[in-house]
């Protein structure tokens, strides 16, 4: 797209071949003796220690799950436990070199990674900082528990803190790292650089890239490691994350200071199995996961397979790979070969692998082999190592007892505070800017061509006589969105926006026209056609503390980022126990003219998912005010826009759209036309057809309709609607979504319950047909039209004298259609 890049046919059409470099496989071969210059004896023993912590931690969980006790302490844990017994060297090797500023993301099988990275960070933090972290986290709640009767060093206290916080989280205790709302598969602790683990296979594949984007854009130290499984390499979001992370623009188009690859390492923990599917040989074709790097970019992602059975081999690889990242040559793909002895979960009977195979890998057990090598190299003796193991075991028994003590480690008392979880769904913290520092922009806002042009526009659609100004003169809905967004770009230095065709093109539907000139590349750029990564990276970006506006060109493409929108974006605030915030405003445009896959209103799908705020403004005033509110908040907002009305002027707000900043609170519907005989509540651009209907009702049938624009779906304040129904006794609820299962029905149900005594007829839903959206020329048969409101009133509420209905709203037709599923 960028004009600066000339695509020369002469070059593009030249014959030649793509050359690949060999990808290294298990090339590390040093003995401990040879490494003695690089590691102190303490370091080498600490590596052993950390591996044993993981082994014992996981063994404890395994015994609890399979025998109901550990070292004579009985406990029942009904929740999940995906253990990594056998994989300890890969986790410790991965974490060893990382600093506190380096972040890791993980999977369902990440207890080992949490502990390894936690132990590594504890080791690197000085005692004062470590204490501060422990003292401030949840007001020192966890610290108080692990400090009781403990007299050891700050670092040992830190280790107790780490193991306890993780264990209590796994057991769903309120004293866990995430108040027990994350659990085994999601536990994390950001002060140690441990970011969310993900129960959706491959879920971290794009989120981690967003974290790396945050580091790069905001000039933060550190790298990001995405710990993902070998089987997750088949997942779309992982591919999309890789595509996003390797975009040429990082090295070719971004400004000089910003130039360079993303600081992210895709760390494939290759235990050679999915659940029961064997990746190499059965479910994948890559042979070795590192091969994938060869196809992605000319650097081949610096891909390499290392022996994850040897912690020193992994550490060696990390030292080299971190250098690549530091040289801005990322991203990196590292395949860490390992093996899990434990089942996928404790209920796994390992029917998919032979006993001989497991035994063969157990014979080379990473911990025992490493211990043997340490003793052979004279670093320590077996007695000492056994002593370490015994100490760790004692520590586990001690912390297990504390973590299952219902008095010390209670679960959330939902009876006492029934809304405790509810209160965590949204953070609701108005925040002007996510970070105090100067914003990076290309010119002063007043110099922006679009801003200058907007100053000349009519901010109300009609002149003093009530005649509409020409479309060209009118300040349009797209201008309202633009004004709110550019304003925030000049306030919040962390704010970035991206999506398909966002830069140069001006964004789909010209909302971003003028932004390209105002903003450097790293604040506004074009993404790959990769909706999963557009949303997924935004989630990672926001988790780290940045504000972001991802854009999905058409609502219909939401399916392409289903997991990101349904499982990730809405959940992390609550799953973190409110540690994380999610200031993401996801712009979604609802189409109308391009048929079945470009015209769907999927607001209902999104409204169904707890944890998302959902708005759908259709006037310039509402669009600007709601965008301001969305951008001022720290919650994920799915911001729906309608392609039917991008060019519409302001017809309602007296005085037009204010030039300055104002907010419209999310969740407040608005009366767009007052009336007394019937209420029409609409979602989205259906508003304008409802207003047409209101006019006909008034003129032809003497019925005065009150038209209310929902503006928001989640949250939603029913009070205004109920007041209206008290007056009118009748209500129609309409939107462009296909009727079955739509949010319109939700509104109808609530209104029925809340205003039953005031209703003369049941609320009537006027939605689209349960069909595919036909061609534009046939849309009148599909989307609610002005006439449909009269049809529905006539048929279901009150007969209109002499009225002949168009669309069929008879009960019998309703039943017939339902029977046929159409």
């Amino acid at each position: 797209m960028p004009k600066v890049q000339f695509i020369d046919p002469g070059v593009a059409r030249k014959s030649g071949e793509i050359k690949f470099k060999p990808i290294p496989v298990n090339q590390y071969s040093k003995s401990i003796q040879e490494e003695k210059n690089n590691f102190s004896n303490d370091d080498l023993i600490r590596i052993y220690h950390d591996m044993v912590v993981i082994r014992e931690f996981e063994t404890m969980l395994n015994l609890i799950k399979t025998t109901g006790e550990y070292s004579g302490v009985p406990y029942d844990h009904p929740g999940p436990a995906h253990l990594s017994i056998g994989q300890e060297a890969s986790a410790v090797g991965m974490a060893y070199t990382l600093t506190v500023e380096d972040f890791i993301f993980g999977s369902h099988r990440s207890h080992g990674e949490i502990l390894a990275k936690g132990l590594s960070s504890i080791q690197k933090l000085d005692d004062v900082d470590l204490m501060k972290i422990m003292e401030t986290f949840f007001d020192g709640t966890i610290l108080k528990i692990v400090q009781k009767d403990f007299k050891g060093s700050v670092k040992d206290l830190g280790r107790r803190f780490l193991i306890y916080g993780t264990l209590a989280e796994i057991f769903a205790r309120e004293t866990g790292f995430n108040k027990g709302l994350g659990g085994s598969m999601h536990a994390f602790f950001t002060p140690f650089g441990v970011y969310p683990n993900n129960a959706i296979v491959g879920g971290s594949g794009d989120i981690a890239v967003g974290a790396a984007l945050y580091k790069k854009v905001n000039r933060k130290k550190g790298v990001v490691v995405a710990n993902i499984g070998d089987a997750s390499m088949a997942c779309g979001p992982v591919w999309e994350g890789i595509s996003f992370a390797t975009m040429d623009q990082f090295t070719q188009l971004w400004d000089d200071g910003m130039k360079g690859g993303l600081p992210v390492i895709f760390n494939v923990m290759n235990n050679q199995y999915g659940m029961g599917g064997q990746t190499a040989g059965e479910t994948m074709g890559y042979g070795m996961a590192a091969r994938i790097g060869a196809g992605v970019n000319p650097d081949q992602m610096h891909a390499e397979r290392v022996d994850g059975y040897n912690p020193l081999a992994v550490i060696d690889a990390y030292k080299r790979k971190l250098k690549i990242i530091a040289d801005k040559k990322g991203p990196v793909l590292l395949e860490v070969l390992t093996y899990r002895f434990s089942g996928h979960s404790p209920s796994d009977a390992s029917s998919y692998r032979s006993k001989e195979e497991v035994e063969a890998w157990q014979n080379q057990d990473c911990i025992h082999t490493y211990a043997k090598n340490l003793v052979e190299a004279g670093v320590t003796d077996q007695l000492k190592l056994d002593g370490i193991w015994q100490e760790i075991k004692a520590l586990m028994v001690d912390l297990l007892k504390v973590s299952i003590d219902d008095v010390v480690s209670p679960r959330m008392d939902i009876r006492k505070r029934p809304e405790q979880i509810g209160e965590m769904i949204f953070s609701n913290t108005p925040t002007e800017t996510m970070e105090e520092r100067p914003v990076e922009v290309n010119h002063a806002m007043a110099e922006n061509a679009r801003v200058i042009q907007l100053a000349k526009k009519e901010r109300f659609a009609y002149d003093a006589e009530g005649k509409p100004f020409s479309k060209m003169k009118q300040y349009q809905l797209r201008d309202g969105i633009f004004e709110a967004i550019i304003d925030r770009f000049y306030k919040d230095p962390t704010l970035i926006a991206y999506g398909e065709e966002n830069r140069d093109w001006g964004g789909a539907f010209a909302v971003y026209r003028g932004l390209t000139e105002a903003l450097p590349y790293h604040r506004l750029f074009n993404s790959p056609i990769s909706e999963a990564s557009i949303v997924g990276t935004s989630i990672g970006y926001a988790m780290c503390g940045g504000r972001v506006i991802p854009e999905i060109m058409y609502c219909d493409f939401l399916g392409r980022c289903g997991d990101e929108v349904f499982n990730q974006l809405p959940k992390w605030q609550a799953m973190s126990g409110n540690v994380l915030k999610m200031p993401v405003v996801l712009r979604v445009s609802v189409g109308s003219k391009y048929g079945a896959q470009h015209s769907q209103d999927w607001t209902s799908l999104v409204a169904h998912i707890p944890g998302l705020k959902v708005v759908f403004p259709v006037t310039p005033y509402d669009a600007k005010g709601l965008m301001n509110s969305a951008l001022q908040g720290t919650d994920p907002v799915v911001f729906f826009e309608s392609q039917r009305v991008y060019d519409i002027g302001e017809q309602f707000h007296a005085g037009g759209v204010p030039e300055g900043y104002y907010e419209i609170p999310i969740g407040e519907p608005d009366v767009k036309r007052a009336g007394k005989d019937v209420t029409i509540l609409t979602i989205g651009a259906t508003l304008y057809r409802a207003l047409d209907a209101a006019k006909i009702l008034e003129e032809k049938y003497g019925l005065s309709a009150e038209v209310i624009d929902a503006r928001s779906l989640v949250p939603f304040n029913y009070e205004l609607v109920i007041e209206s129904v008290k007056k009118t006794g009748r209500i129609l609820i309409s939107g462009d979504a296909t009727s079955r299962g739509s949010f319109l029905n939700d509104l109808a149900r609530n209104i029925t319950e809340l205003a039953f005594d005031y209703l003369d007829a049941p609320p009537v839903v006027v939605g689209s047909r349960n069909w595919i959206t036909p061609a534009y020329e046939l849309e009148e048969a599909f989307f609610p039209q002005a006439g449909w409101f009269l049809d529905a009133i006539h048929e279901k509420i009150v007969p209109l004298a002499g009225y002949v209905a168009g669309e069929n709203f008879t009960d019998m037709e309703q039943i017939r259609r339902a029977k046929l599923g159409i």
């Binding site: 007829a761 009150v798 002499g802 019998m812 017939r816």
Partner: protein, 454 residues
């Protein structure tokens, strides 16, 4: 030139003409299209002519039995021709009356065959003969016609084989009559001809006559008529008709019976063909037009009432359904209810019922209590029914004592049953009924006596 109406009605039977009258009264611009005579089946070949004839028969019965009351009427005879002529007169008078009512309520009547052409944004277009009519709403009341089942030898009506229509036009009294179907229509005609001395045989496929009515009373009724000389063949399936011979299968054996005339009264079928219903896409259900509680069809602005819906098949149901349509059209929310529709068999004695029968209550698992009293419990009945017997049965809900059903065998139950209809419609309980004062001495007191039997 087409003309605009608020409401067009096809069919001038009890559904159509009553709806027209009510709609006209409420100020709607109405056109009623009837291809035959106003009044429909009911006035012309159903309720009214049969009741007129049955009254003649009853007078004859009474005259013969007058001695029991100390009245002597010697050489009692009858003139079949005069009976039929009086019936014609009554029908004419009533049909004329309907016409006057239409005028009075500004209903435009077209005595033409209607045909539905289709539906557009402008309205529903119909033709009445040559005339084009455009109406905002359409009410279909095309009624029903006698159903002649596909049995070998049973083609369309002829000299011997008759339906209600032909039998009402007989010139001479048949000496014997075979009635196929022992339902209400069959029993009424059987009763009439039996009174006049015709040898009547009833062939019924089910194991009892008048199914749907209280079964205990149906048995009593059958036994009374058996005494009067009617022959009943129950569980008898007609397999062939051969001239005057009706061949039926009973308990696996073939039997036959012959009659001068054969009346086919096995049921009626809704009239849904031949007038363009398909041009609207109106949905049918078991042969009738499918409607909801407000008599709306599946097509906006199109309604149906009366026999054409295919279930109740009673004139008073038809009229009430027509009224429901008009109420809803004129802004009154009205739903059709079928739980208090009375059914009367105008035999001698009359047999009337409303609401749930015991059979239905059991079938629907409704907990009920039931009390039954002989009619002879009240003075007036004894005074007027020498040697006659009858019975009254009341069903109430077990928990609340609300009246669920009332069934009476005996004269003049047809005139009394409406009291029970009101009780059910108003959801009255035993307690409330006990406080109602009945005139004394009347046969209606049997209702009150039965109530006090709980």
């Amino acid at each position: 030139m087409s003309k605009n109406y608020d409401l067009a009605i096809i069919g001038g039977g009890p559904a159509g003409y009553v709806a027209a009258e009510r709609a006209g009264h409420k100020g709607l611009k109405v056109v009623l299209i009837e291809k035959g005579e106003l009044g429909g089946v009911c006035l012309n070949e159903g309720c009214i002519p049969t009741k007129t004839l049955l009254y003649s028969a009853k007078l004859y019965d009474n005259a013969i039995g007058a001695e029991k009351y100390g009245v002597q009427a010697r050489e009692v005879t009858f003139d079949f021709g005069k009976m039929m002529a009086r019936k014609e007169k009554v029908v004419k008078k009533l049909v004329g009356g309907v016409g006057l009512k239409m005028k009075e309520h500004h209903v435009e009547v077209r005595r033409k065959e209607a045909y539905i052409k289709g539906r557009s944004a402008a309205g529903i277009s119909i033709t009445a003969g040559e005339e084009e009519i455009l109406a905002a709403n359409l009410l279909i009341c095309t009624g029903s016609e006698a159903f002649v089942p596909p049995i070998p030898g049973l083609g369309s009506p002829n000299e011997t084989i008759l339906t209600n229509r032909e039998i009402l036009q007989l010139k001479e009294l048949p000496s014997s009559l075979v009635v196929i179907g022992g339902g209400v229509i069959g029993m009424e005609f059987a009763s009439f001809f039996n009174s006049l001395g015709t040898k009547v045989t009833i062939v019924e496929m089910l194991d009892e006559i008048l199914t749907g009515m209280d079964s205990e009373m149906s048995v009593m009724m059958r036994q009374m008529y058996a005494k009067k000389g009617i022959t009943f063949h129950l569980s008898a399936k007609v397999v062939e008709v051969n001239g005057t011979e009706v061949i039926f299968e009973k308990e696996g054996k073939k039997e036959s019976v012959t009659g001068d005339k054969i009346l086919v009264s096995v049921g009626r079928k809704p009239v849904t063909k031949g007038f363009g219903l398909e041009n609207l896409g109106v949905e049918l259900d078991r042969g009738g037009i499918k409607v909801d509680e407000r008599m709306k069809t599946n097509v906006p602005n199109v309604f149906a009432a009366g026999d054409v819906t295919g279930f109740s098949l009673l004139a008073h149901t038809a009229s009430r359904e027509g009224e429901v349509v008009v109420n809803n059209l004129t802004g009154r929310n009205d739903r059709m209810r079928y739980n208090a529709i009375p059914g009367v068999v105008y035999t001698n004695p009359e047999f009337s019922g409303v609401g749930l029968t015991e059979e239905k209550a059991k079938e629907q698992n409704i907990a009920y209590k039931c009390v039954k009293l002989p009619m002879a419990y009240v003075g007036r009945f004894i005074a007027e029914n020498e040697g006659g017997s009858g019975v009254c049965k009341v069903l109430v809900g077990e928990k609340y004592g609300e009246v669920l059903g009332v069934h009476m065998l005996g004269n003049p139950s047809s005139e009394m049953i409406y009291g029970a209809c009101m009780a059910i419609e108003m959801e009255m309980t035993l307690k409330e009924m006990e406080e109602v004062v009945f005139p004394h001495p009347t046969v209606s007191e049997i209702f009150k006596e039965t109530i006090f039997g709980f």
